[in-house]
């Protein structure tokens, strides 16, 4: 393996891990939830400020986890800021499909953009939960579920 040309630990992921975007608390906020991955001990909180019209005005996260879970959370916040709640829910479904190998990013249309860096992760079943933790937590926040666990 060449460590610098790795399908999983791509530059984008390593960079987001090192310098996570929107890594802070939003207080007060309109929606928040905590996510746990009991297997890894990954733990994060997602905060949202949603406007009356259903637009995500601000989105941030805090927590501790592996590079995959941190980069995924960071990229999620970057992608969803300014989008509508409906778009966020649709993207959750697409991202879930991507990491579960149900959605082939090469075939058909989707809105994943840069998030396709996670397309190889289904080959590492034990790491899928790391990639999707932030998204489940986001969905929990939108559904007003306070604590989300990937188990």
């Amino acid at each position: 393996m060449s460590v610098h040309n790795d399908e999983l630990y791509q530059e984008v992921i390593l960079e987001h891990n090192k310098h996570p975007r929107n890594f802070r608390k939003i207080d007060p906020c309109s929606h928040q939830a905590e996510g746990y991955n009991p297997l890894c001990g990954d733990h994060l909180k997602v905060y949202l400020q949603v406007s009356a019209e259903g637009r995500i005005e601000d989105l941030a996260f805090e927590g501790d986890g592996c590079a995959i879970s941190k980069a995924s959370a960071s990229m999620m916040t970057a992608v969803l800021k300014g989008r509508s709640v409906e778009e966020a829910r649709a993207l959750f479904e697409e991202f879930r499909g991507l990491v579960m190998k149900e959605l082939d990013p090469q075939a058909g249309s989707h809105h994943l953009g840069k998030l396709t860096v996670f397309s190889g992760i289904w080959k590492y079943p034990s790491r899928v939960k790391c990639a999707i933790l932030a998204w489940h937590t986001l969905k929990g926040a939108l559904d007003k579920t306070a604590v989300v666990s990937t188990e």
Binding site: L14, G41, D64, C66, A67, Y124, S126
Partner: protein
């Protein structure tokens, strides 16, 4: 027989398996489960090929043969643990079930509200949760003996926590996440002074050093076959005869009874009282073969070799920049738990998996240990006697590569 590592490795076909991307496998996850020698594999294979029968209930030839093989394993286990009687060896499905059996049967009949169970801070979840269930059923109290920064049990604290209220002490022999080897004999002696019974969780310890339940004076001992180079789904509970005699059955069913009417059931004698239903016959027979294998290799050589692995592992791993070893007990098994500065354990696990190196990452079913050392997870390399120093060097090389990525 001289310790010939090459010859030993040929006995374990799984060592030749390929890992991800067809890389040669370096298997350093023996605390999770061990590989099985050909001798064990062919023994269970033979049972399924031409010796299949249920035990204790047939007059036909195969059933009598299977019963004899099953019961001869009981004798092998008795000798292996130096138990005084065959009726002290109960087959279970693993260490977890053995501990649950004691908690449910002995615990529920002997403990009442306010009685205490003493465990340690380095216990596996399977030696924590059964006692919590017992607490719910009886109102007993769980006390936890703390460990020091090396991951060693604090004997003074342990002693202070023992009191006339202590009814059960249940401690791990070798910690699966720290590698610490506990001073069992001393711990059992102190527990008895306080009037408690002592259970040893030997899930890891059973492959580490020879056990003598009489000399160590433990009342109960639990282990799993699959961590002793035997099959999965089989384990042992050792219990002192006079204590097992007083305990109510754990489960009801066939084999554990002498006679049944709808009014009354007469339970079988020990140890069958605790073996309800058809057991894992092939598994038990395979476990017997694993014990034969260990005897043939010989403890002395295995122990010397593993001590070399511990020393070498500490030396070369501690030289990796940013590596912090979690668990540096003076008496240690070749289990290396560590964290790398700036790299989460899971990322280490995935990255070195691509080099063919299998380790475990996470909390290793010992969350209180992770909390004690202030880490969410560790990477853990755990070695068996068939591992080599060269394999540790490959781990180090892979870790240096991980450092480059992050």
């Amino acid at each position: 027989m001289a310790f010939n590592i090459e010859k030993i490795r040929r006995d374990f076909p799984n060592l030749m398996a390929r890992a991800r991307d067809e890389k040669p496998l370096v298997y350093l996850d023996n605390a999770a489960t061990t590989f099985k020698p050909c001798q064990v594999i062919s023994c269970t294979h033979a049972h399924y090929c031409h010796k299949t029968a249920n035990i204790h209930r047939g007059v036909h030839y195969l059933s009598e043969e299977a019963t004899a093989e099953y019961e001869s394993t009981r004798e092998k286990v008795r000798r292996f643990l130096n138990a005084s009687s065959l009726c002290e060896i109960v087959f279970t499905k693993g260490a977890t079930e053995s501990i649950n059996l004691v908690a449910a049967s002995y615990g529920r009949s002997a403990l009442k509200s306010g009685d205490e169970v003493l465990i340690s801070q380095m216990e596996h979840h399977s030696n924590i949760v059964p006692w919590q269930l017992l607490r719910e059923a009886t109102g007993c109290v769980i006390k936890v003996a703390p460990i020091n920064d090396r991951g060693e049990l604090l004997l003074d604290e342990y002693r202070k926590l023992l009191s006339p209220r202590t009814k059960i002490v249940s401690i791990v022999h070798v910690s699966n996440s720290l590698g610490t080897v506990n001073p069992v004999k001393e711990l059992a002696r102190l527990a008895h002074e306080a009037g408690a019974v002592f259970l040893l969780d030997a899930a890891q310890g059973v492959s580490h050093e020879p056990i003598d339940v009489q000399d160590w004076d433990v009342d109960f001992l639990a282990f799993s076959g699959h961590k002793l180079f035997g099959p999965t789904g089989v384990g042992v509970l050792y219990g002192k005869e006079r204590i097992l005699e007083t305990m109510p059955p754990y489960q009801g069913g066939g084999d554990m009874i002498l006679s049944v009417t709808f009014d009354r059931t007469v339970f079988n004698r020990l140890p069958l009282k605790f073996e309800a239903g058809t057991p894992n016959v092939a598994g038990v027979i395979g476990l017997g073969s694993a014990i034969d294998y260990i005897r043939a290799v010989g403890w002395e050589d295995m122990i010397t070799h593993k001590k070399d692995l511990v020393d070498h592992g500490h030396k070369v791993l501690n030289a990796v920049p940013g590596l912090r070893m979690i668990g540096t007990a003076r008496n240690k098994a070749p289990i290396f738990s560590f964290v790398l500065e700036g790299v989460h354990a899971h990322d280490i696990g995935t990255l070195i998996d691509r080099e063919g190196i299998a380790i475990r990452t996470g909390h290793h079913c010992t969350q209180p240990v992770m909390e004690r050392f202030g880490v969410p997870a560790t990477a853990r390399a755990s070695l068996a006697f068939y591992n080599t120093k060269e394999e540790i060097d490959l781990l180090v090389k892979a870790l240096l590569k991980v450092r480059e990525v992050f």
